[in-house]
């Protein structure tokens, strides 16, 4: 079972929830926030193995190339330019779509691989921890996320997604069986919760909410969830000491009081999503 943890707004507590939930459930953890992955700080997996994430880029066989320039014209991303007797390639712009290979009548185009990120895998207790790390300066994270999610292990996978509602998140949603939206009781949190919920609804996956940094008397989010029929799995109360423990990169669920809170959420996860 693959459970995606999303948020819309950054900083609401996706990694906080994901790592603690994975720890409590003994589930595998997958960090898909490949631009800024943080989960390993808390789970501290050991025995790390590293795999390069490679994408295609076109290579031109000069002996066959007639400099017709059709590949340049067909590229929607301006990754190729025709200059004197050369076809120049701009690899960071290349989407590896294959259009240039298809259009070439002279069989002059083939593909090689280049590295734009890595996947790291290790163990936390008996569970598998994986994360993707995008190389700094690479504009597109999607290939790293796809490779990470195409090779999920059996059992329960807690998938820590990127913030926002863009392609990075959309691609992750294809692989999840259910989604948990982490929000915070602020105007920003509520505003972005609605955007994220709207997105997840288009994927027709069961959805639930966890309210982090919870303050007594919160009503807006509760009302919204009731109106939208979204179960609230639990709330994590706001306390400055939590922020301090988190800041040190420690697992909050190692403290009894919080262990109970996360155990309750974990039980609710099982109840709500199994029913779905």
């Amino acid at each position: 079972m693959n459970i995606g943890i999303l948020s819309g707004k950054g900083g609401t507590g996706k990694t906080f929830l994901s790592t603690n939930l994975a720890h409590i459930l003994g589930a595998n953890y997958v960090d898909c926030d490949v631009e800024e992955p943080n989960g390993f700080i808390f789970l501290n997996p050991t025995g790390i193995k590293t795999f390069e994430v490679k994408v295609d880029y076109p290579v031109i066989d000069k002996s066959k190339c007639t400099m017709c320039g059709e590949c340049v014209k067909v590229c929607q991303f301006n990754a190729l330019a025709k200059v004197k007797n050369n076809i120049l390639l701009f690899e960071k712009l290349c989407h590896a779509c294959g259009a240039c290979e298809v259009i070439c009548k002279f069989n002059a185009l083939s593909y090689k691989k280049r590295t734009m990120g890595v996947i790291e895998e290790g163990k936390h207790n008996n569970a598998i921890c994986k994360r993707g790390v995008l190389n700094i300066g690479e504009p597109m994270a999607v290939s790293v996320i796809d490779q990470l999610l195409e090779n999920l292990n059996d059992g329960v996978n807690i998938i820590d997604c990127a913030p926002g509602t863009s392609r990075n998140v959309v691609n992750s949603l294809d692989y999840v069986d259910a989604a948990i939206l982490v929000t915070e009781p602020t105007e920003f949190g509520f505003h972005d919760l609605k955007l994220a919920a709207k997105l997840i609804r288009t994927f027709n996956k069961p959805l639930a909410v966890v309210i982090n940094k919870y303050v007594e008397g919160e009503e807006k989010i509760h009302q919204y969830c009731t109106d939208e029929n979204i179960p609230i799995l639990g709330v994590i109360p706001y306390k400055r000491e939590v922020a301090k423990i988190y800041s040190k990169g420690e697992m909050i669920s190692d403290i009894d009081e919080y262990r109970d809170i996360f155990m309750n959420i974990a039980n609710e996860v099982k109840a709500v999503f199994v029913w779905s």
Partner: protein, 283 residues
């Protein structure tokens, strides 16, 4: 002058600080480049004086009456965007490879609206912002449009404040390139520090002048010190250390900038930071 507020990690306080600086400045234009989760405009009452459709990448469209269901398009699509003759608009990148192989010319690339972009006039100046269509991508082209639109409302004395998005990908790269100053807002947590380093490396490679703000610094003073040391070693100046302050949460929920809360310690520290930033600008 363009000042971009960045963070790497989400939730460090970009929007809070961007808004505060905007409120402390007379001649200001605001650009909300956090297009996935745009929050800046929530602080302001205003009306949209301009609304435009924004067209991002083209998308493939299949004319079903011409389609002979040979599925060649599906075989050739490297994004897995075509299944059973239907195009998944979320996955389609508009590369056009499918259009090249279709034997009956049934597929074309068409412009597709991916966002609405607005110029919103408020009592505190103009906001250039976007509302993304669900599942669309906040591309560099969109960010560029927002910055370009804002430019029309600014003169040589205007301070343009750009509220950036988290991460280090294309939208961040587009928000920060060719700006005058990037103010990186970080927090003293292990996660915050790791993300801060990555976004700092990115900014350095783009040749952007960087200033640093340590927000909620007293949550963990050891890590705050580590951040300061890292900054010293990498020729970055820490212009502000903002203490953790419950009033900030209150200010967000009252949708009023923190600078209007007189007794707030964060308010005092932010004002002090702004003085430091202005000093840096004039040097």
């Amino acid at each position: 002058m363009e000042l971009v507020v960045l963070s790497g990690k989400g939730g460090t306080g970009k929007t809070t600080i961007a808004t505060a600086i905007a409120e402390l400045t007379k001649n200001v234009v605001k650009v909300d480049c956090d297009v996935d989760a745009p929050n800046l405009y929530l602080f302001y009452k205003g009306s949209n004086i301009k609304k435009e459709y924004f067209y991002g990448r083209k998308k493939a469209v299949i004319n079903q009456s011409l389609c002979i269901k040979c599925r060649k398009c599906e075989e050739v699509c490297r994004n897995g965007a075509i299944k059973s003759g239907e195009i998944n608009l979320y996955k389609c990148e508009g590369c056009g490879t499918c259009t090249l192989v279709c034997p009956s010319n049934a597929i074309k690339l068409k412009d597709k609206k991916s966002a609405d972009i607005f110029i919103t006039k408020t009592d505190k100046g103009i906001i250039s912002r976007a509302e993304m269509d669900i599942g669309s991508n906040g591309s560099g082209k969109l960010i560029t449009s927002l910055r370009k639109n804002a430019k029309r409302y600014s003169d040589e004395n205007t301070l343009t404040i750009i509220d950036g998005s988290p991460g280090i990908g294309c939208p961040v790269i587009s928000s920060v390139t060719n700006s005058d100053i990037s103010l990186i807002v970080t927090e003293p947590t292990r996660s915050g520090m790791e993300d801060f380093k990555r976004v700092a490396i990115l900014c350095k490679s783009l040749g952007v002048f960087m200033l640093v703000c340590i927000n909620k610094f007293d949550i963990n003073e050891e890590i705050s010190k580590e951040i300061k040391i890292y900054c010293n070693e990498h020729q970055m100046k820490v212009v502000g250390k903002i203490p953790y302050d419950d009033t900030v949460m209150k200010s967000i929920n009252e949708l009023k900038s923190i600078i209007y809360y007189e007794n707030s310690v964060a308010n005092t520290a932010i004002r002090e930071m702004w003085k430091n930033i202005k000093n840096e600008i004039s040097n």
